[in-house]
Symmetry: C2
Subunit: 180 residues, 2 copies
């Protein structure tokens, strides 16, 4: 019922993609390896958000505010609709977060010139300061991790993460890559 049985069953299907070289061991595709990846994602994501979360808690903001700030910083002048698409939440959910950020003077919302229905979002100076603090806290941990793991590991890390994404999200990710 478990162990070897499960692992075998998971290898039953046809093999495609980068691992198609016929002589390959395929030991990296056992259920045991997959489970390790799953647990690593869980524990790592906790670490990944821990540092910004601490800073945000002091300012009585949450992770949702961080995400909004991050992507407004990344794509200045973005519309609400575009942000909704990237963040994958409802407009009511985003609006609540956006409203507090605008009220607190971290984000400014300007009516579109070409299409006056749209709102274009930008960080104020104060918003950029917070973004810098949050971003640097998060990068610090990533930088240390990258250093320890080395460039080849980092390349693999990026490759696997991209494959885990939903195709639609991968498109967004790729567009951000180009823009950066």
């Amino acid at each position: 019922m478990r162990g070897a049985d499960m692992a075998d069953s998971s290898l039953g299907g046809p093999i495609g993609g980068a691992a198609r070289s016929s002589g390959e061991t395929l030991l990296f595709l056992t259920d045991d390896q997959l489970r390790r990846g799953i647990e690593a994602m869980f524990f790592a994501y906790r670490g990944f958000t821990a540092d910004p979360d601490r800073i945000l808690a002091e300012k009585s903001y949450g992770r949702a505010h961080h995400r909004a700030i991050h992507f407004i910083h990344r794509t200045p002048g973005t519309t609400v609709n575009n942000l909704l698409d990237i963040l994958g939440v409802t407009k009511q959910s985003l609006n609540r977060v956006l409203r507090t950020l605008i009220e607190d003077g971290l984000v400014e919302s300007k009516v579109g010139v070409k299409d006056r229905r749209e709102r274009h979002l930008n960080l104020t100076e104060e918003g950029q300061e917070l973004e810098k603090v949050l971003g640097e806290a998060q990068r610090k941990r990533m930088r240390a991790a990258y250093r320890e793991a080395g460039p080849d590991a980092v390349a693999g890390f990026q490759q696997v993460l991209q494959q885990i994404m939903d195709p639609k999200m991968r498109t967004h990710f790729d567009q951000l890559k180009e823009g950066g």
Copy 2:
């Protein structure tokens, strides 16, 4: 204020760990690369949780139930305290989840033999069935990602994730690895 300036500043410190070979390019440590890693983590985690989330929604359970089920499955007979440590939530939060799982007959709680204050947690047959469905949904995506990326990428993926974890969580992760 941005771009090259930031990237340069981030490389100012002393270099340690696996990237210490002196002739290395270190381009993988630029703020731009780190940002890509951060965004990849964000988008990938969404994909990572998407499939189980869909299944759980049908049964009016949430991600918290999945996590409890996963780790009870991984360490059968674990105590509540141990689970609290791994999940990193308060006992009130865990208890709410655990209570519904016990009431619904997915988890059973047995008084400890050696120490009768402790409760030992196990999945019932029904609990194991749900774990299998959720686990297989999550593994399916990971398996596809692993296949596409290949074994070297997977090794790097694991390395970087382990470095991102808090040391305490890395200990838990390592213990689970051994046990598996």
